[in-house]
Symmetry: none
Subunit: 209 residues, 4 copies
DNA sequence: CATGAATGAGGATTCATTCAT
DNA sequence: TATGAATGAATCCTCATTCAT
């Protein structure tokens, strides 16, 4: 019987990587649209053009798949943030530049991977995230916290609970992406957003000046 | 034939309103904690201390219950916003004061009804909201949009897509409440947040000055 | 509070009889349309313009209500058959006239109480009929059986299992009423049916002649 | 990409057809005994020796299953009737032989598939039958109607509403099977029934002779 | 490794029955 | 006696997971 399976995937050494990645990508897309809890494994399988059973060959459970997607992208975010922080640090930047670098990295992530950003920041993951996934999140949080705290110490950033400031920043970013559903955020909006958010972080200093 | 049934009907009605309200309140609490999709009707029933069947006497389906909760609180928000706008308008306020009034009304709502605010702004309702529920949302959006637009025309508010500015504002507010999970937002944080958000809205003007 | 309860039913000594009868009549109508198993007590209550609880004041259960309806009409049928048999017997009729009298009584019943006839002959009552109800049925069956058997003995009726002949007769009658759903069987059809069914009972004799 | 999946698909399909047929057969048996409305899906599953979920892989709902069973057997009846009509037509039969052929085909069906015949002719399907199922029924009705009408025109069949005659015929047949519940109709009874029913159709002609 | 039919526990919904008023 | 809101067991249906091929 002749069937068109749609894609070459059974050949070569990296086949399982390819399949696994296809599943991860499909899962992200479907989770973003329907919520983790709202998507059926069959939907992911259909989106990945794979049989249901195949998903279970790569991930032991739906929860594990959810964690894998979360970890994949949160780790990507962490990598990006570290790279940005590294560049800023190498340049001997002041705390202000460091915060700005982290902000821009996050913004960049949100623009380049809108689905991933929405999935990560926009949903309630509490019910299924495991320790590994949380560890990545905690590391990112710690990094941002440190940058903000240092900025506050240096007088570049307004006073206030750093955790709250970060949460508001991220929240504003989430709002930004929510304002353009299913579309990339326009360039103009990005510029406005950056100014606006930066003002948020420095308003007190500005007021003082 | 006309008969005076005395209190019988009213009694039934009273009872019914009370039960209905208990279910709505329980549903809000449980939906907020577990997500609409993540809660079982049995959980709502247990939280409301009624039998499962009782919920179906008052709401035809889980979806209808979700809509009712959404509408109840979004309508409350609308009422609050209208009251705030009315007070500001009576005071002959400028556009700046009007926007500030709306912001404070929303903030106040988030502080006084943290569960409701989280339920409304924090979840993906797309899958089950009906036309009625959306109508309330649209009205609120229109109100805020108008205020921002007028503020921009008056030069009180920075330029930029008004929808985006509102989304960022709300997002920041969501982030704020998320930063203090299961607890009221501290007073100090509220003050900081207001300054920060206001700076967001006016940064350009400030920059220009 | 003034409400129109639609009917006077709370006055006089025979009130409960009236209510009970209203429920029985409503039940017959709804059972006939939706099947015993397919009707909800609430439907019967609505059709009887009575509250659900009221039905349970008169009948201990849905099953009891079903039995009561069945018994009511099967008993009516029995009464009619006895009257017809009585008249025929008094007239000193031959077995042929007796069978014809029973047939006409049944036909008359089917024409005058089409819902009742359909309910009685057309549904599977096996699951809920109690001994009392079956007793009435058995008595009718015995009566018909005796008439047919006597007719066969007298050579007026063709040979064959009398139970089968009765079942076919009744079946044909059911078919007749089914052919005119929601409407009375036309006079012309009745005449045809009588000839046809009578031919069924006597065909052999005719063939022999 | 075109791949030869070998027997995989066919295997799946075979398996599926077998399972589907097992479910259909089980459903017929249980529906016949307990009525469509009176049977739980779990009963069908148990009778088919499959899990509940398996039924839903093959039929989207209980209603769809009911329709499928109905259509399966009504279609079989149609096929049988057509074959009988074909044979009678080829033999150049007169209208009398044609009607007799149809009658015998139906009788044969009732004898060979007593459950199916009871399910089809004995229950109220109105509540769940869909257009497809009704189409088959209508086709059978039209076929019988045509035969009777032609027979009447040729003077072989008595006058009267053909729909009514058919309904009475079928009704008598239903009564016949009802007279021997859970058992095959005895040969002797079949012969009697045929004479009786034929007398029903021709009584007038006979009377006239 | 891939497949997808089968499984069955779990969740939404219905409805006969009860009982406080 | 009548009412109808409340009850919860029973029922339909879903979907994560398994496993024979």
């Amino acid at each position: 019987m002749l069937v068109d399976t749609g894609r070459v995937r059974n050949q070569g050494a990296d086949q399982s990587v390819t399949t696994r990645d296809a599943v991860l990508a499909a899962a992200l897309a479907v989770f973003t649209e329907y919520t983790y809890g709202g998507t059926r494994i069959a939907q992911v399988a259909a989106a990945a053009e794979v049989a249901v059973g195949t998903i279970y060959r790569h991930f032991p459970s739906k929860e594990a798949l959810g964690n894998a997607v979360y970890r994949q992208w949160k780790t990507q975010m962490l990598v990006d943030l570290r790279a940005a922080a590294g560049r800023a640090g190498v340049a001997g930047a002041d705390s202000r530049a460091m915060v700005l670098a982290l902000w821009r990295s996050t913004l960049d992530f949100a623009v380049r991977h809108p689905d991933a950003f929405r999935f990560l920041e926009y949903q309630q993951h509490g019910s299924y995230l495991d320790a590994d996934a949380r560890k990545v999140t905690d590391e990112i949080d710690a990094m941002c916290l440190a940058a903000i705290t240092r900025g506050q110490a240096a007088g570049d950033i307004r006073a206030g609970d750093p955790g709250m400031l970060i949460a508001m920043l991220l929240g504003a970013l989430v709002g930004l992406t929510r304002a353009y559903p299913g579309a990339p955020v326009p360039e103009a909006a990005l510029a406005v957003a950056e100014q606006a958010v930066w003002a948020m972080l420095t308003s007190e200093a500005i007021d003082r000046s």
